[in-house]
Amino acid sequence: MSTPTRELPSAASDAAKAGPRPRRRVRIWAVVVWFLLAFFFVNLIALVASVVVDSFGKTWFGGWLPSGFTTRWYSQAWTEFGLSHVLIVTAEVAIIVVVLSVLIGVPASYVLARRTFPGKKFLLLLFVLPILVPPITYGIPLATVLYKVNLAGSLTGVILANLVPSVPFVILTMTPFIEQIDPKIEAAARMCGAKTSAVFTRILGPLLIPGMLAASILVLVRTVGMFELTFLTAGPDSTTLVVALYNSVFGAGIRANQSVDAMATIYTGSMLVLLVIALRFVNPTQLVARGGDTGKE
C-alpha cells in the first residue's frame, strides 16, 4: 500500500511460489465460503448476461430465452437515445476531466510530497474530504451554485462538477508516488546547473509519467462511471452515457425494454474495455480505494 502503483505479482509467479508448498487440509467452512462466493459470481454473471441476452432478443416474456434474436434494438437505441452524441459528450467530459485534474493535481502533489509547511495537515484533510463525502451530499449544493452562475446544464458545468472528486483523487494517488522518487536526483540535476523548468521537464517529467498514467486511467474509469454529479449538473445536450442510461430507464415515455438493454450493453462493453486497459497499469484494489485510506500507515 505504500506505493500504490506497484503491480501485484503476476498469477504465474503466484502459482510458482505456491506450488512446492504442502497443501492445506480441506476445511468444511472453506468449502462453504468458496461455494457462496461461486454463488455470488453465478448470479452476477447471470445478471449481466440477462441484460445482454435481452438486448439481442426479439421478445422475451418469460421462459429461458427470447423468442428470436435480432440486432435491431441497437440501431433503434442508437437513434432513439442519440447515442453518437452521448458517446462524444462522454469522451469529451472524460478526457477534459483527466487532463485538467492531472494539470491541477500533480503540481500540488509535488509540493505535498516534498515540502513541510504550516497548514499541510489541514490541506491534506481538505483534499481528502471530496473523496470521503458522498457525491450526492455536496452535489446538490454544487449544482445549485452552478445553476446560479448559469453553468449547470452545459458541458462546462458537467466537467467542473466531475473535477471535484477527480483532482483530490489525483493528488492522493500522486503524492505517495512522488514521495518514493529520490529527491537526490533533483538535487543532482540542480548541482549540474539545471534550472527549475529543466528539472521539471527533463528530470521529474519522465519519472512521473507512470504515476500520471495510472492516475489518469483511474480518473477516466471513475468519471465515465460517475453518475450522481453528472446527473445533477447535466442538461439535455451534456448527458454522459451512464446518465443517459438512467434517464432511459427512469424517464417518462414508453420505450422498449430491449433498447434500454441495448444501451446498457453498450455501456457495459465500453466500461469493460476501459477496465481491461486500466488493469494493465494498476492493480484492482486501486480502482476501488477511495484514496482516503491508501498511501498511509
Binding site: 500500500m1 501485484l8 498469477a11 503466484d14 505456491a18 476445511r27 467452512w29 472453506a30 465460503v33 468458496w34 462466493l37 448470479n43 452476477l44 447471470a46 445478471l47 449481466v48 440477462s50 441484460v51 494539470l103 493535481g105 500540488a108 515540502r115 495537515k121 490541506l123 484533510l125 481538505l126 481528502v128 471530496p130 463525502v133 458522498p134 450526492i136 451530499t137 446538490i140 449544493p141 454544487l142 449544482a143 445549485t144 451554485v145 445553476y147 474509469v221 453518475f227 446527473f231 445533477l232 451512464v242 442510461l245 438512467y246 427512469f250 438493454d261 446498457a264 466500461m271 476501459l274 477496465l275 488493469l279 492493480n283 484492482p284 484494489t285 480505494a289 477511495r290 485510506d293 500507515e297
Partner: protein
C-alpha cells in the same frame, strides 16, 4: 483519518525543526504550485458547501432561520427518510464487511487465481449502480432467470418479489458494495505479518483460536475503516433506490428526498437543508464508529488502518 488530529499532538522537537526549515528556506515560491488545487477546492467544494449551508437557513416558505429544519423534522414523511436510509445503509455495510472476512481470510496468503478473483470483483464496481439496477430488474424480476430456476426446481411456488422494494435495493447494494468491502479487507489482511500466525501455531493454538486472538484483533481497525467506507457508499444510494426500489415508499432514502426537493420542486433551500442533514447524519455514524475504533488495538504489525 490521522490527518485531522495530528497537528494538535505534534511533538515540540518536530516543531523546532519545522521552524528551522522555514527560517532557512522560508515558505518559498514552490508553494505557488499548490495554488490551482487550493483555489479549485475552495471554489468548487468549500464555497458550494458553505453556500448550501447558508441557503438552508433561508427557507423559501418562511418560518425563521431554522424553518427548513423545523419543516424537515416535523413532517414524518421527510423525517422517516433518515431511518429508511440508515435501515438500508447499515445492514448493507455490515453484511458486506462480515461476508468479506472469511473470504479475505482464505485469500490472505498466496492463492492461485487471486488476481483473477480480484479482477472479477472489480467488474460490478466499475459497472455501477445504474447497470446493476437494470440487471436486477431483468434477472430478479417476476419472469427473470432467478425466479424461473427457483420455480422449476420446485423451491418456490410463487415468483419471489425481489425488485421494487427494500430487498431490491439491498441486493444492489451488496452487488456493488461487497466487492468493494472485500478488496479493502483483503488489502488489510494481507498487511498482517504471517509470522504472527505461525508463531501462535508453534505455541499450540488451533486455527479457530489463532483467528480469534491473532488475526481478528489486528484486522479490526481495518475492518472499521472498511465498514465506514462501505457505509458511505451505501448511505448515498440514489440510482438503485430509484430504479429497483420503491422511491415513494419503503426506499425513499434521504438522497431521493433531497433531489426531489431541489430539482423537482425547485426548492433549493430545502434541498440544501436535506443535503446538510445527510452530511450530519453520516458524520454522526462515522464519528461513533471511529470513536469505537480508538478502543481497538493499533499495533505496528497489522490493521494498516
Amino acid at each position: 483519518m490521522s490527518t485531522a488530529t495530528a497537528p494538535a499532538v505534534r511533538p515540540p522537537s518536530n516543531q523546532s525543526s519545522l521552524r528551522h526549515r522555514l527560517a532557512e528556506r522560508g515558505v518559498d515560491r514552490t508553494l505557488w504550485l499548490l495554488l490551482p488545487a487550493v483555489a479549485f477546492i475552495v471554489l468548487l467544494f468549500m464555497y458550494p458547501f458553505l453556500y448550501g449551508l447558508g441557503l438552508s437557513f433561508q427557507p423559501s416558505h418562511g418560518g425563521g432561520i431554522f424553518g427548513n429544519y423545523a419543516a424537515f423534522f416535523s413532517d414524518p414523511y421527510l423525517r422517516n427518510t433518515i431511518w429508511k436510509t440508515l435501515g438500508l445503509g447499515l445492514p448493507a455495510a455490515l453484511f458486506n464487511v462480515i461476508a468479506s472476512i472469511p473470504i479475505a481470510y482464505l485469500m490472505r496468503g498466496k492463492v492461485r487465481g487471486k488476481r483473477l478473483l480480484t479482477t472479477l470483483l472489480v467488474v460490478p464496481i466499475t459497472l455501477g449502480t445504474v447497470l446493476t439496477a437494470q440487471g436486477l430488474i431483468m434477472y430478479a424480476g417476476p419472469t427473470g432467470w432467478l425466479n424461473t430456476v427457483l420455480l422449476d426446481l420446485g423451491i418456490i411456488d410463487e415468483p419471489l418479489t425481489l425488485i421494487h422494494n427494500w430487498i431490491g435495493v439491498f441486493l444492489s447494494l451488496i452487488i456493488t458494495g461487497f466487492p468493494f468491502a472485500f478488496l479493502l479487507t483483503l488489502s488489510y489482511i494481507s498487511g498482517i505479518d504471517p509470522a504472527l500466525d505461525k508463531a501462535a501455531a508453534t505455541l499450540g493454538a488451533g486455527p479457530m483460536q489463532r483467528f480469534r486472538t491473532i488475526t481478528m484483533p489486528l484486522l479490526a481497525p481495518g475492518l472499521v475503516i472498511t465498514f465506514t467506507l462501505s457505509f458511505v457508499l451505501a448511505f448515498s444510494v440514489f440510482p438503485s433506490a430509484q430504479l429497483v426500489g420503491d422511491p415513494t415508499g419503503s426506499t425513499r432514502v434521504m438522497s431521493i428526498a433531497a433531489y426531489d426537493a431541489a430539482f423537482q420542486q425547485f426548492d433549493f433551500p430545502m434541498g440544501s437543508t436535506m443535503a446538510m442533514i445527510m452530511a450530519v447524519v453520516m458524520l454522526v455514524v462515522i464519528g461513533l464508529v471511529m470513536l469505537w475504533r480508538t478502543t481497538l488495538y493499533r499495533g505496528a504489525t497489522g490493521g494498516k488502518g
